[in-house]
Amino acid sequence: MAVETKLPYEKSYIEEFSNKRNEPQWMKELRLQALEQANSLEMPKPDKTNISKWDFSSFKHDFAQGEKLSSLTDLPTEIKDLFDKDNLPENLLIQRNQSVAYSAISKELQDKGVIFTDIFTAMNEHEDLVKRYFMKDGVSVDEHRLTALHAALMNGGIFVYVPKNVQVEVPLQVVFWQEDPEAALFNHVLVVADENSSLTYVENYISHNPDEKTVANIVAEVIAQDNAKISFGAVDNLSAGTTSYVNRRGVAYRDATIDWALGQMNDGNTVFENITHLVGDNSLSNAKAVTVGRGKQTSNMTAKIVHFGKNSEGYILQHGVMKDSASNVFNGIGKIEHGASKSNAEQESRVLMLSEKARGDANPILLIDEDDVTAGHAASVGRVDPLQLYYLMSRGITQHEAERLVIHGFLAPVVNQLPIESVKKQLTQVIERKVN
């Protein structure tokens, strides 16, 4: 099926949608302009994967209400599993479909001025901040058709703000639970750490639509002001029926750090893009991602770090396991702009294929416009080594268990870096489920 060139959504629909959300005028205008742009912009073209036949147009766009949760005990097990039962997160927000079903933030953080709320509330209650950052420093509306569509149709999301000099020791966790199997998710995550602040943020996407077709168009903008430190973890677990575009963008100013630990565990076709701009001198980013592909799923994962600041450091590490007839392309891009002297760009991408029909590709790219830098890359694509299995089995371990060990071992360098124990455990469980 070819992608329709004209959207089924009219200006009036967007206006009404925005009015119902009580959005400020600037937001409505931004949406309307984005809608116009979406009609003329091209689709993104991820390297080495042709997405022209992907179904980005079958979905129901709405503001699907989700029932409120009075306590976390009402949740289905797979969502309960996201938390440590004996140690429930103090700072947790659950977005069920498009509305907030549960939210908690500690008194301490509130007193310190930390903002942790849904994007629509934030737009009104913290208008200046949201307006300052929404699709400004990070992702631009007009990058391509999907970013423009995202802005026009945004129907969910979260805003996190940590004021200057505030250290948030306890993680902030958000669960985006897409309960309605057909409702599209145009979700926007905006995380801002002001100067000298720090936080750990973790998000989970989850849906249950193995057959019903829908779309997720997710943009996360993560801004670390001077000397701020953000640790961003995510486990994406959307069902096979969802075609996903996931764009996570970081901007690190002077002496700032953004660390990513991303688990791409979707079962549907996914374009997954994680770009960090190291704008300030001495800025740093570790971009780690894992994926497990199964069934007929195709995914394209780009990790890119762009160095503008002097002495900036970017490390990309991505590992993926492909089974059945799944296929995945890892694009790793380290880009050092002119003037970013003494910078270091390193990357490593590895794919392990478990079956004959599985496909993997690792595509390392270094683009360097400055002499006084260091850079390096490593990439590999291969099948499970039968001698490794033989060695493990020679100690009595069954073949199935041996494969499990090898797969977990292959993903361990990334999984072990996840910032929160419970999320690490959760990712391990999702991996377990996907490889079994």
Partner: protein
Amino acid sequence: MAGSTLEIKDLHVEIEGKEILKGVNLTIKGGEFHAVMGPNGTGKSTLASAIMGHPKYEVTQGQILLDGEDVLEMEVDERARAGLFLAMQYPSEISGVTTSDFLRSSINARREEGDEIPLMKFIKEMDEALDYLEIDKNMAQRYLNEGFSGGEKKRNEILQLMLLKPEIAILDEIDSGLDIDALKVVSKGINKLRDENFGCLIITHYQRLLNYITPDHVHVMMQGRVVKSGGPELAQRLEAEGYDWIKEELGIEDETVEQNA
């Protein structure tokens, strides 16, 4: 009867269509230590690999029996659980899997589901074995064999041997690459297992190891067969005189498996 018995009868093995073993006969009983010696490329590792079930080696003729059970019908993991162990000449490196996790999985593979070894008991046993083999405790948390020195890999094989306590162990050049102190430590570990229930086949090139672990029987392999067997004195004579006298005695010119006798 004490211990298990491993019988190898008229074993023929091919690799990639080339016949390497050409009729090996050998019986190892619980309580016995056998040494297998022989020049390079005569089929010693092939014998060890065929017993364990290496995926590249194809048995074309003959039998391997463990207490009368047909080993060739078993998968690699079943052979291990039946009581066989092979310390490999070149152990694989498994990235991301800690030595400790691997050891625990191996121990639990021998136990019923629901009867897994308690974590504290496992740690205690592992620590004792690490101490006994003078291995740095950090090694348990390192990824299995990854970046291990040659000697560390060998010690790690013996660590596994001590914790898994098989009925019959085959040690393929466990002494190669070991310094004198390490050789003593590894020998100490092997000797600790020595009792009437434990049988062992030691593949080595050097009398040095056999000074520490005295074998009951010594066999010499050439051309993919056991061509001579004897007691510990056979190994001593090989150390002193080399293999030429055997070749002369048997009329062998080329001892490798290339030659059809």
